[in-house]
């Protein structure tokens, strides 16, 4: 800050030149106020000026990728928000299941303490089964949710990475602006040099002060030319870096998202309370084997959804699902199965 303030008076008084060693750093965040001012002027000329700048972003592939990344970022943001809501809903479900279990534990205890008739004992036994199962289901939901958070966190991570992508795009724009600024400046200096030469040639014997000015101008042109070349090299380097980084991002994102999908689905299946070995110990005198069989059919019908999903996923992404997954129930909606 202080360096920049110290340089400014000299810059305002004399010719200000952006040195070749300085162009590799972006103007923003630097201490060269004159350079900042020049690039700002160029930027305004780009946006509002009638003429096209000397060099523009013409890489179609990059522009398409940039647009795609922006669209992707929007969708990742949306998916990340919905994933958070889903996690919250799962957490609430688990908590309520636990509270329900606790309420029935209290009820069971109460019926057993106040027992007068046999029907109370029967009800207490039924309730105890439900209470225990509800509390267990609540624990499963907690575990399910912890794993869900772990998997869906990938969405949040890639949202964070988008910031880095924006940074890279910003660096590219800054480098381009530096190139544009230097080209404009070079053009200006060259036309001034031409005017000075033309004016000198009209005076017979030459004009010493004009000659001196011309020499200084030519020195400045040389320095600016060098700076321009360095800026162009830097811009090309950034472009190449952008390309390889975007390719890497695409590759890694594909792998990470596929792993996320696999992890999420396997977790939803594997952490179902149904997969535990506890059974219903509620015996209703009115239900017979026919009802039990129909309950099992009901279970199987729900499993079809899970199996269908995984089969299709296997079809589309053979690299993702390497193990055979035994499915019992896709979502832990029911507490237990007979």
């Amino acid at each position: 800050m202080l360096d920049g303030a110290a340089k400014l008076p000299k810059q305002l008084m004399g010719e200000s030149v952006i040195g070749p060693q300085e162009v590799v750093q972006p103007a923003k965040g630097g201490r060269d106020f004159m350079r900042l001012f020049k690039e700002l002027r160029q930027s305004v000329a780009n946006d509002w000026g009638g003429s096209k700048p000397p060099v523009v972003e013409e890489d179609k592939e990059f522009l398409e990728k940039k647009e795609r990344i922006q669209e992707l970022e929007q969708q990742i943001t949306n998916a990340s928000t919905q994933a958070e809501s889903l996690v919250k809903a799962q957490q609430d479900m688990g908590e309520t299941m636990g509270e329900l279990g606790l309420a029935f534990i209290k009820l069971t205890k109460f019926e057993n303490e106040e027992v007068v008739m046999n029907t109370q004992r029967v009800r207490a036994t039924d309730m105890k089964g439900l209470a225990t199962a509800a509390v267990k289901a609540s624990r499963f939901y907690r575990e399910l949710n912890a794993q869900t958070v772990k998997h869906l966190d990938t969405l949040h991570e890639y949202l964070g990475l988008m910031l880095a992508v924006h940074g890279a795009f910003s660096d590219r724009s800054s480098a381009l602006l530096t190139v544009q600024t230097l080209l404009s400046e070079l053009s200006t200096l060259q036309s001034r040099a031409e005017k000075l030469e033309a004016a000198s040639s009209r005076v017979f014997g030459g004009d010493k002060s004009r000659m001196r000015k011309l020499e200084e101008l030519q020195d400045t042109i040389k320095v600016t030319e060098d700076a321009k070349n360095v800026a162009i090299r830097e811009y090309e380097r950034i472009k190449e870096n952008n390309k390889s980084e975007l390719e890497r991002l695409d590759r890694e994102r594909r792998t990470d998202f596929l792993n996320m999908l696999k992890g999420y689905v396997v977790n939803q299946v594997g952490n179902s309370p149904v997969n535990s070995s506890f059974h219903s110990n509620i015996e209703s005198p009115k239900l017979c084997h026919r009802d039990v069989a129909s309950a099992n059919v009901h279970v199987k019908a729900r499993n079809v959804v899970a199996v269908e999903f995984l089969n299709r996923a296997l079809l589309y992404s053979p690299v993702v699902f390497e193990d055979q997954i035994a499915i019992v129930e896709f979502y832990p909606v029911g507490i237990w199965r007979v």
Binding site: L86, T96, A103, E114
Partner: protein, 214 residues
């Protein structure tokens, strides 16, 4: 039965004590019913919340499914298809959860609510029984007092004797009616409790099983 001696002296002395049955079994039953209502109300509240949670999870799954489908469209290729499939299945599961919410509401929460209503009905009967008992006791006291009054008038050969006898007979009939009413309430209550215990055990057993089945 009401303790009439102490009640009479209390009334004479101007002390009003609340008149209640003193049967220890009945006290236990009342305590059971009152406490049961609290526990059941708590359970029913959580059952209703569970219905809400199913709806909420269903909704969030549906929103997640939509978001993931859009993400799949942005990604394209096999990854896009996998996202799209996840989205479709999430939406199917969302519909199942909404259905599940409805099932829990109808087959679990509603029976619990019925259970609470049945207990509240017994509480109302307890209140009726208390009123009938109080009325019976008050009338029994009044009859006793009237009897004393009648004896006094008989001794003094009062000209108001006939009227006093008539009033006494009316009161006695009222008192007997009150006793019958009270006894009938007690009988109905015992039947209600027995029916309540048996029916509710069955109803709740079915409700729990339906809940488990999903």
């Amino acid at each position: 039965m009401c303790n009439l001696n102490s009640k009479v002296s209390d009334v004479v002395l101007g002390k009003e004590k609340p008149v209640e049955e003193s049967d220890p079994d009945y006290e236990k039953l009342k305590h059971y019913i009152f406490e049961l209502e609290n526990h059941l109300a708590e359970a029913q509240k959580h059952a209703y919340r569970l219905v809400k949670r199913h709806r909420e999870k269903g909704q969030s799954l549906s929103d997640f499914g939509k978001a993931v489908k859009l993400l799949g469209a942005s990604e394209g290729n096999s990854l896009g298809k996998a996202f799209s499939e996840l989205g479709i299945k999430s939406e199917i599961l969302s519909a199942k959860l909404q259905n599940e919410a409805h099932q829990i509401l109808m087959n679990f929460e509603e029976p619990l609510k019925d259970y609470v209503r049945a207990v509240q009905s017994i509480k109302a009967t307890i209140a009726e029984r208390a009123n009938a008992f109080r009325k019976q006791c008050q009338l029994a006291e009044t009859v006793k007092l009237k009897e004393i009054e009648l004896e006094r008038q008989r001794l003094h050969r009062s000209e108001k004797l006939a009227e006093a006898e008539r009033e006494y007979n009316e009161l006695k009939a009222e008192s007997e009616q009150a006793t019958k009413t009270f006894e009938s309430i007690v009988r109905l209550m015992n039947e209600e409790i027995r029916r309540f215990q048996e029916q509710k055990t069955l109803d709740m057993g079915i409700a729990f099983h339906e809940f488990a089945k999903g």
